[in-house]
Symmetry: C2
Subunit: 413 residues, 2 copies
């Protein structure tokens, strides 16, 4: 007779706490950006824990990290469970880490119980989900499914000046014990646990969200070009000030997009002026725009409004504007088989839940292109994420991991 595998909540909470120290900030958050020394340290710790439990460690050319617990039939494609270990520069300790460490807890629970599965189960930590140090995000899963190739990113440099290719090489080299495997090893299914990063589950008092779809995301980089000049001597008639154009366009967009469509999201997270001198009119102003909407046509229509407003503002200031798309993830749906399994698992465990759409994009949306995939959300306090104050109740962490284990066992018998 075999034991029923059980999540060890204490161990999972301790692991979360241990990983939160890697890149931990003074106020309890995490700065563990993709391919940084801190990211390498977190990967190293996870690989060491896996090796200690007898799991095999693999990485692929984009540095996706895989921890494999062998199945009875090694020839079958594995079931994949996981998330990411990289964080925002002022991120929280649960975004990504929870899903990765809960998946690892699933493997450990199976190992503790001596519970064999037919196919292997692998934990994955995808590379650069956040996209804050090197844009775009979800790089690892994009490369895994063939939607991008590592070569596509070779000219990237980080905001801290680091080169992508060098940092990727250093990250791979930091795990010499990991066996290299090609991109896109076949898998049978994918599950990812994540915090909601929004307030709805907490407000409705639910233990979990069964994520059926993800809203679309598009990232634009807007550059206004004008004419540098002396702040004190250049009168209005002689100014071609890209700062005036940029703030004019943004104030109009901020007043017209989100207030008119409650499903729309418009965020400007990065903004710089060149040459950045207090007493010189800038010659160049650059900012990013993050557009989200559950409906593909609305993403396109917001994109068009951004372009029109920027062009109108540029014209009014005798400036020019260039707009490029740096990331474009259409809205997408998850596998009904997988969401039904999560739902059945929640019912079996007696956990309250609802079906819902994700406001954030996730690696799962790309993985869904090559295998049945779905996600489980757990509540986070006040919906706060991408913020050092991010917090998840221990009960919700443990229930999330139990649900992940149960849903995993429904897929990998």
């Amino acid at each position: 007779m075999r034991l029923t595998p059980e999540i060890n909540g204490e161990r999972l909470l301790r692991r979360l706490s241990d990983f939160a120290e890697i890149g931990g900030t003074s106020v309890g958050g995490v700065n563990r950006q993709a391919l940084s020394k801190e990211d390498c340290a977190a990967r190293h710790l996870l690989a060491d824990l896996a090796t200690a439990r007898g799991f095999k460690v693999f990485q692929d050319p984009i540095a996706n990290l895989f921890l494999r617990r062998e199945g009875r039939n090694p020839a079958q494609p594995p079931m994949l469970v996981g998330s990411h270990l990289d964080s925002q520069p002022t991120g929280g300790r649960f975004d990504g880490a929870l899903g990765t460490l809960a998946a690892f807890e699933v493997l450990e629970a199976l190992e503790d119980a001596g519970y064999d599965t037919e196919a292997a189960i692998e934990v994955v930590a995808w590379t650069n989900e956040e996209g804050s140090r090197f844009a775009p995000g979800v790089m690892g899963s994009m490369a895994f499914v063939g939607a991008a190739h590592p070569h596509d990113f070779q000219s990237l440099t980080a905001s801290d000046g680091a080169y992508f290719t060098e940092e990727l090489g250093a990250t791979l080299a930091a795990l010499p014990l990991a066996e290299m495997r090609p991109l896109g090893t076949p898998i049978s299914a994918y599950l990812e646990l994540h915090i909601e990063q929004g307030p709805s589950l907490e407000r409705e008092g639910l233990a979990a969200g069964v994520v059926t779809a993800v809203q679309g995301t598009r990232w634009l980089t807007v550059t206004f070009l004008g004419n540098a000049g002396h702040a004190g001597t250049t009168s209005l008639g002689y100014r071609r000030d890209p700062m005036v154009a940029a703030t004019l366009a943004l104030s109009r967009l901020q007043a017209s997009i989100m207030p008119q469509d409650e499903d729309a999201r418009l965020t400007v997270g990065r903004f710089s002026a060149h040459p950045g001198s207090i007493n010189a009119i800038p010659d160049k102003v650059t900012f990013t725009v993050d557009i989200r909407h559950p409906d593909a046509a609305s993403v396109t229509s917001i994109d068009a409004k951004v372009r029109a407003a920027c062009e109108e503002a540029a014209l009014s200031q005798r400036c020019s504007v260039e707009i490029t798309t740096s990331f474009d993830m259409p809205p997408g749906s998850f596998s009904k088989i997988m969401t039904d399994r999560i739902e059945a698992a929640a019912q079996a465990l007696g956990l309250s839940y609802k079906r819902m759409i994700s406001g954030a994009f996730h690696d799962a949306l790309f993985v869904a292109r090559v295998a049945p995939a779905a996600m489980i959300f757990v509540p986070c306090r006040d919906g706060i994420s991408h913020n050092e104050a991010e917090y998840v109740e221990p009960t919700d962490i443990i229930n999330g991991a139990r649900l992940l284990l149960e849903a995993t066992l429904k897929s990998a018998r």
Copy 2:
């Protein structure tokens, strides 16, 4: 009989060209920011040229550089002539360098002619006039007249991460042959030649401006504080977005200050968002505001409008705002004795001129607190300055230097 000193135009143009190579940019501009390696190299070259002509070299604790041609009576306070050698990050080759090198040409012309003066004449290159790497500007002249002390700047760091005290120390140490003298050595008068940095002289076809006053300048640093959050999941009602507040405030100010007062100048040259992630609502947005007006009361009233607009915008976005003043130079007038001398010199040379107010601030305005001072402006093409495309006609350069020599001789006989 003594020779009449004559400006050597060819030599002056060659010197300008030589100095433009120090920090020279690919499009003919200059990046020679204060206390940088390039600034040190320019100081070194000027000191070497002075030594070669037998002039004495001094520096003071804020690294103002003095080149002294001795007078018949060394006990008399010297007449001071000069400008600055530092540039904006994407600056032109004439802003500062013209006034410094024309002053040095005056010394060389006197030396060539064996023309003795009663009091010594000294060329000065003031430290950090621009204030782009370390704010505020006109640091050297402020410290010279006692309006600031080097200690006041000891906590400054540059946008490139350098520490002010280290860079100042390195700059002083790079000229070991220069004799150290205390701040504020007495002087009898001060003259400064500079490009207009505005279009009026060129448009009116005049060779020179006799500068009678300088408009006031005030620099503010505005910081909006909000709440970081996830770009995809945070709906409008939960946002406290400092970027929205900042662009709202700026778009209102840009529409209401300069269009309503043709003497007013409002420039936002520096702007940043923290943490600077594409897909995170920022928690902090910071920008600078440069306010100018010839009338002191108007500077104060524009300052009040900026504060009111920022506070209103912060309130509307449930953010807070902090505003600090980093530099405040009230409008000021130059010495009538000195402007009369410049005017008489222009008439003697048959150069067209007008009396005018400066739109830019200059070291001369601080020096005017301790000695009779005035400035000479020469035209620059299209009024363009703080820009790599800055250009001055050779004729205007040489006429400017001739006028500086003539006006200097009227003050230092």
